[in-house]
């Protein structure tokens, strides 16, 4: 707590919370908080990736066979969609910082649309797998010596992609919310920390998918 800022209390902007001395401190706290949160997110997904790695070490052939059951074309398109959306939201935050309100809203909404289309494509994938009897616990029927390893793979597949899709869904909702607030002029060159942190989250969701893609879709394609 700084004595001088108490005197400057008159100049405190409305969004400045009382425990902070000035907007810069608030921004630093929020940003650090977001990064720490992202570190925990990495470890949440990390459990699934670690389980995946160990099961794949135990059953390399089964995992290759299982991966061939996934839809690589859709997976690749989904990856491209997420990468593009990541660049759009980065541009959107840039537009907020520059005060280009309409461009910012358009870019954020485009990000949300790409995110939603990702979810729709994933829905198609899940449907296809259901019809091919690839859903452990509900409808799983596969021939061959690797059947059990394939079932293990698909357990992980649903946990990983399901948890990731949940993140995408939350991201889309938050981004739409931010876009609305930008449209109403809540954010601009003087205050852009919340949109920036939303973008950080979205990039992390993208990064997770960057690793999901080769681990789920690309194993055993050459075999």
């Amino acid at each position: 707590m700084n004595a001088s800022t108490t005197d400057l209390g008159l100049h405190r902007p409305a969004f400045l919370q009382e425990q902070f001395d000035d907007p810069l401190q608030q921004r630093e706290a929020a940003t650090l908080g977001m990064w720490v949160f992202l570190a925990t997110e990495i470890l949440f997904f990390g459990v699934l990736f670690a389980s995946y790695t160990i099961c794949r070490v135990l059953y390399p052939d089964g995992f290759a066979a299982a991966s061939r059951h996934t839809d690589m074309l859709l997976g690749t398109i989904e990856t491209a969609v997420l990468l593009t959306s990541s660049s759009l939201i980065a541009l959107g935050v840039r537009a907020i910082k520059l005060g280009e309100r309409r461009a910012a809203v358009a870019l954020l909404l485009a990000t949300a649309v790409l995110g939603s289309s990702f979810l729709v494509m994933h829905g198609f994938e899940y449907y296809r797998e259901y019809t091919e009897h690839l859903v452990p616990g509900i409808d799983f029927l596969q021939p061959g010596v690797d059947a059990r390893a394939i079932e293990l793979f698909f357990c992980l597949y649903y946990f990983i992609t399901g948890f990731h899709s949940l993140h995408v869904l939350i991201g889309v909702i938050v981004i739409v919310g931010v876009a609305t607030r930008v449209a109403h002029g809540h954010f601009g060159p003087r205050r852009y920390t919340p949109p920036e942190l939303t973008a950080l989250y979205w990039h992390l969701v993208d990064i997770v998918w960057i690793f999901v893609y080769p681990l789920i879709y690309l194993v055993g394609r050459s075999g």
């Binding site: 000035d22 907007p23 810069l24 921004r27 940003t31 650090l32 990064w35 720490v36 992202l38 570190a39 925990t40 997110e41 990495i42 470890l43 990390g46 459990v47 990736f49 670690a50 790695t53 160990i54 070490v57 135990l58 690589m72 690749t76 990856t79 491209a80 990468l83 593009t84 990541s86 660049s87 980065a90 541009l91 840039r94 910082k97 520059l98 060159p189 003087r190 205050r191 852009y192 973008a199 950080l200 990039h203 993208d206 990064i207 960057i210 690793f211 893609y213 080769p214 690309l218 194993v219 394609r221 050459s222 075999g223």
Partner: protein
């Protein structure tokens, strides 16, 4: 307050170049997946993923100009995941598998 008045922005072109690079890398990993490279399939795929991640973190997440604290925090999750993986793999990779006793 000065930083809030004149926010630092990255040129739009840089974002688009990075997007182009990311999509190229995506094509690279998708393409090489069909070549018979043995273990190198996975090595290439995962290296590409690491590269993509570094690009996203450096440019989209603005880590090139960030404070050391931010960089350290962003690395923390990965470092801890690496510890989890390394030590649990140590078990799975060095196990003497007992042959079935039949």
């Amino acid at each position: 307050m000065s930083s809030a008045d004149t926010p630092h922005v990255t040129p739009a072109r840089r974002y688009l170049w990075v997007l182009a690079a990311l999509l190229t890398l995506l094509a690279l990993s998708a393409g090489t997946a069909f070549l018979k490279l043995g273990p190198f399939n996975s090595i290439i795929n995962l290296s590409v993923s690491v590269l993509k991640t570094l690009l996203v973190m450096a440019v989209f997440m603005h880590e090139t100009g960030a404070r050391n604290l931010t960089r350290l925090t962003s690395a923390l999750g990965f470092i801890w995941l690496a510890m989890l993986l390394a030590l649990s793999l140590l078990d799975f990779l060095t196990r003497a598998v007992l042959p079935a006793p039949w």
